[in-house]
């Protein structure tokens, strides 16, 4: 099929408004269901847990005492890092350049992909990831009996011993795209989509969209004063210093923005001296 305009113009990004987040966990449930997360009898081995989206409980009791404390739930998925060009080096997310088998790559839409069946399970990408967003199938993924009926055919079930991760539900984009093509719309940029977590958020705290489109809600949110990226203190630097640093060293430079008007949350994004 010849597609007229086949160059991908979109760059997907996400903004999570922590001011609106109630910590209900709907995003986590939706993600697990959509992405066929394995089902274990006891999933309390948190360090070995396989889930794309982690509902992190963040409190500021490092900095404050009761009752000046605060609690937030922070949905953390793959931050879809972009990296930044340094010394003329091509920008890559921390995980992509290290993979010895090219099982992970950055798509032209900015999504960091992961091919379960290509992965050899060396876990180098997991080591490289500063956001603990990649998970490894330490055990064989299980789906007891009738639970198999609820599996989504668009996301393949991974083998034991492979790395899996959030891909911004890019299979949903493909689903939308296929529908558009069936209608005769061949423009690759014709469709937008919503990942499972964003669709499930009851307060509309998760916004998903095209960062390349200056008029999209996500672009505006990403530029707002409330926007901060996970543990990325470079965002707090003055613009010129930030630029200078970015030329000297690579930074993950994620495409997931967290919005907060709370000072305590911004403070918690920074490491402080151990007491």
């Amino acid at each position: 099929m010849i597609v007229k305009d086949s160059k991908m113009k979109r760059k997907w990004g996400m903004a999570i408004d922590l001011d609106k987040c109630t910590g209900c966990g709907a995003c986590s449930l939706a993600c697990n269901q959509e992405n066929n997360m394995p089902i274990f009898e006891d999933d309390s081995d948190v360090p070995k847990r396989v889930a794309f989206l982690e509902l992190m409980k963040v409190t500021n009791d490092r900095d404050a005492k009761f009752p000046d404390v605060k609690t937030a739930y922070l949905p953390k998925m793959c931050q879809q890092c972009e990296g930044n060009d340094t010394h003329g080096h091509k920008a890559d997310p921390p995980c992509v350049s290290v993979c010895p088998a090219v099982a992970t790559d950055v798509g032209d839409d900015g999504v960091v992909s992961q091919i379960w069946s290509r992965c050899i399970g060396c876990r180098y990408c997991q080591t490289a990831c500063p956001y603990e967003a990649r998970v490894f199938n330490w055990w064989k993924p299980e789906y007891e009996g009738t639970f198999k009926e609820g599996l989504n055919p668009e996301v393949s079930v991974a083998s034991r011993g492979t790395i899996v991760k959030c891909t911004f539900c890019s299979h949903i984009w493909k689903r939308e795209r296929d529908k558009a093509v069936a209608k005769g719309i061949l423009d690759i940029n014709a469709v937008t989509y919503t990942p499972a977590c964003a669709a499930a958020c009851p307060t509309g705290a998760i916004v998903f969209g095209d960062l390349n489109d200056p008029n999209s809600e996500i672009s505006k949110l990403a530029k707002s004063d409330r926007a901060v990226r996970l543990v990325n203190a470079i965002d707090d630097q003055p613009e010129d210093k930030k630029k200078a640093l970015m030329e000297k060293k690579q930074y993950p430079n994620p495409k997931v923005y967290y919005l907060t008007s709370q000072k305590w949350l911004r403070d918690m994004m920074r490491f402080k001296k151990n007491s």
């Binding site: 070995k48 350049s97 993979c99 290509r118 060396c122 603990e132 055990w139």
Partner: protein, 410 residues
């Protein structure tokens, strides 16, 4: 066959018998747990999504760095023609061979999908130029090729077995292989530089998202570390073998050359390591908005760094100064310190590196290998020791010894 094994046990001293029992037990345990890990996966280890690598990678890092003594020794002997190193070269090559062999074994266990290990060659991550994008791709290729070279280097030792060498053809092959070995040594050194750097340091240094590891010069420091520690290791192993066999397997002057090299390189390593810590403190940690000393905490605290420096200084102190080095006990202390310094630095890279929290609201983590990990790690070491023992007993591992015996015979 049974009789043969029985004889071995009967001939050995009591201590040797106990040692053999322990080693064989470890190998059996290794076999049992290897099956469990390979068939039912890595869930049985204490590695997890946060502590992604554990005991086996420590084994890899250690073995490759210490095995790196083989390329240094080979280089000195075949390129610089330091002929005094000839008595130790067979042992060195065997050690290097085993270190690399078991690096592969460890790596294979560490893969979640060992059956897909060939993907590393089939789909290498080569980036745009000649230089690979992934340090592991480099490790895959360099390690494999260098392992092949070590195989070639090892062949003469086997061919020189007193039974085989009687065959004229084999004798000729062995002779010419020795003569041409410099080509292998040169190629090996070239390759070794790369994978020493990549597996030992570059692999960690390039992780720009992880402030605890990120440092652009880590690659080069690992090469220096391998030369410094490897030569000490290559000294200590035959030395211990000699003590066990109660014979002079390698002349003292050979040890002296290697330990001298080790000591001098350790001076370089010390300077490099100081520079490394200094740049981490003033440049790389702040570039990631972290405080270097804050990153030392939990179980794997600053004591690891202090210990490493004490061991380095001890190695330098005893190995560089001739008056100490020439006394056997100080040479042993120095070389052991050197080996331990490298082992500590690798432990620290891994244990400390992984324990550092990635989020300000998370704490330091810890890692306690499970029985499976211990068994496989020590089982591999036991295999290595057994192979070394077999070579020492039945193959011309120590030409010097045979030379002596020959003299005595006459």
């Amino acid at each position: 066959m049974v009789q043969f094994i029985k004889n071995i046990f009967q001939e050995s001293s009591k201590n040797m018998r106990i040692t053999l029992y322990v080693l064989i037990t470890l190998v059996v345990l290794f076999a049992i747990f290897a099956i469990q890990i390979l068939f039912w996966g890595l869930g049985y280890t204490d590695m997890n999504n946060n502590f992604t690598w554990g005991a086996w990678i420590i084994g890899d890092l250690g073995l490759v760095a210490l095995g790196g003594g083989a390329f240094t020794t080979g280089y000195l002997l075949y390129i610089f023609r330091v002929d005094k190193l000839r008595p130790i070269i067979n042992s060195t090559v065997l050690l290097g061979f085993m270190c690399y062999l078991f690096t592969f074994v460890f790596l294979l266990f560490d893969l979640g999908q060992p059956l897909r290990c060939w993907f590393g060659f089939a789909y290498p991550n080569w980036g745009k130029g000649v230089y690979p994008a992934s340090m592991l791709t480099e490790v895959f290729f360099c390690l494999s090729i260098y392992f092949c070279i070590l195989c070639v280097e090892l062949i003469p030792t086997i061919l020189e077995h007193k039974v085989l060498i009687k065959n004229k053809v084999i004798a000729t092959i062995a002779h010419y292989m020795h003569v041409l070995m410099w080509t292998m040594a040169a190629a090996g050194t070239f390759l070794s530089f790369f994978h020493q750097g990549s597996l030992g340091g570059g692999m960690w240094g390039v992780l720009y998202g992880r402030p605890v590891w990120y440092s652009p010069h880590f690659f080069f420091m690992a090469v220096v570390a391998a030369i410094a520690g490897g030569t000490s290791f290559m000294t200590m192993m035959p030395y211990i073998a000699g003590k066990v066999m109660k014979k002079e397997v390698v002349p003292m002057e050979t040890y002296q050359i290697l330990t001298k090299v080790s000591g001098i390189v350790f001076v370089g390593y010390f300077i490099f390591r100081v520079y490394d810590v200094y740049t981490a403190i003033v440049k790389y940690a702040p570039m990631n908005f972290r405080d270097y000393f804050d990153m030392w905490g939990g179980y794997y605290g600053i004591w690891m760094l202090v210990l490493e420096f004490i061991l380095i200084i001890s190695a330098i102190f005893f190995l560089v100064q001739k008056k100490y080095r020439e006394q056997e006990k100080f040479m042993v202390i120095g070389a052991t310190s050197g080996i331990l310094a490298i082992v500590t630095s690798k432990l620290s890279v891994l244990l400390h590196g992984f324990s550092v929290p990635n989020f300000p609201w998370k704490g330091f983590t810890a890692y306690m290998p499970t029985i499976q990990e211990w068994a496989i790690t020590f089982g591999c070491f036991a295999c290595m020791i057994l192979i070394y023992m077999i070579f020492a007993k039945w193959f011309p591992l120590f030409p010097h010894l045979e030379h002596e015996e020959h003299e005595a015979h006459h």
